[in-house]
């Protein structure tokens, strides 16, 4: 057996192991902000279809098919959700800008409470549907409100935002895609 040069086993090998460790940890740390957020399985795929009762008039059913052919935003919220209160003003600003309709998916909520919330805080939604048993939210892969989805005129999910929406995130991930029309989908 040939003798290994002392410089290699004593110094280079541990250094190589150390460098590999630094690399792995650096990648891990750099990516850590995304780690709390699950990648959406829906990005680049057809948005799930739904047909749910209208919050303001439950005898009327609202279908996602009514929105085919134009950009729209789906915002999952509930009165039990503190983050939804945080993002509410951003949604109101989006409504005022008139750029894109927001469909509210009211998750696991009481109709009276949801209506009270909208009359008290303002109503940013073109329409709100009641997802009382959470089935439609499951189809969207929602794991906690608020979550916000951008869907293009072909019905494809272009973006998903988890947690309270901010003005910056809206401009960067939503408005820019709607205006530019060419940005590839990303999670």
């Amino acid at each position: 057996m040939s003798r290994i040069p002392p410089g290699f086993s004593r110094f280079l090998l541990p250094l190589a192991v150390f460098a590999a460790l630094v690399f792995v940890l650096a990648v891990g740390v750099k990516r850590s902000p995304e780690k709390g957020t699950l990648e959406s399985a829906l990005i680049g795929r057809m948005a799930p279809e739904f047909e749910l009762p209208d919050l303001r008039d439950p005898s009327r059913k609202v279908s996602s098919r009514d929105y085919r052919g134009r950009w729209y935003v789906v915002n999952v919220w509930g009165t039990w959700c503190p983050g939804c209160r945080v993002e509410h003003n951003v949604l109101l600003d989006v409504r005022r800008s008139g750029l894109v309709p927001i469909i509210g998916v009211n998750l696991r909520d009481e109709q009276s409470q949801a209506l009270g919330w909208l009359s008290q805080l303002g109503d940013p939604y073109e329409v709100v549907v009641m997802d009382t048993d959470g089935r439609t939210s499951i189809d969207f892969g929602v794991y906690g409100a608020p979550e916000t989805f951008l869907i293009n005129p072909q019905g494809i999910v272009m973006h998903r935002h988890v947690g309270p929406l901010t003005h910056e995130a809206w401009q960067r991930d939503f408005a820019a895609r709607i205006n530019g029309n060419t940005t590839p989908p990303s999670s």
Binding site: P6, L42, Y143
Partner: protein, 151 residues
Amino acid sequence: MRIVLILFAVAASLMLGHALAVDTTQLDDPKLQERYRALTHELRCVKCQSQSLADSPSEVSSELRREVKNMLLEGKSDDDVREFMVARYGDFILFKPRFAPHTAWLWFVPGVLLLIGVFVAVRIVRQRSALVTQDNEPVAEDPLQEEPRQG
């Protein structure tokens, strides 16, 4: 009286077990119940991220358990249930990731690490046994020359 107390204690402790269990779903068919139990243990809670569906008290988990139950009652296969979950929540929801191009390294890296470990171990053992045979030889004229071998 004593017997009543003992019975009461036994009944209370039995109920305690139920109270501690998050999921008390019972399906009529024992085979379905077993598949339900297995599936809810191999699917992850998407909200809490370190519990299984079966262990999680979160609302989304109870809704996902309901979907598992309904799909089993509809006669869907275990793979149908897994497909349903992965289509909506991604590979994350499976505790045991499937083999796919982007998960391949998960499966190969342990084997590679094992090979490296075996290689290192064999090298150390060979070096050590070389030292042992040298012990029987006459002492080298210059001991400093032997030094690197001990590393």
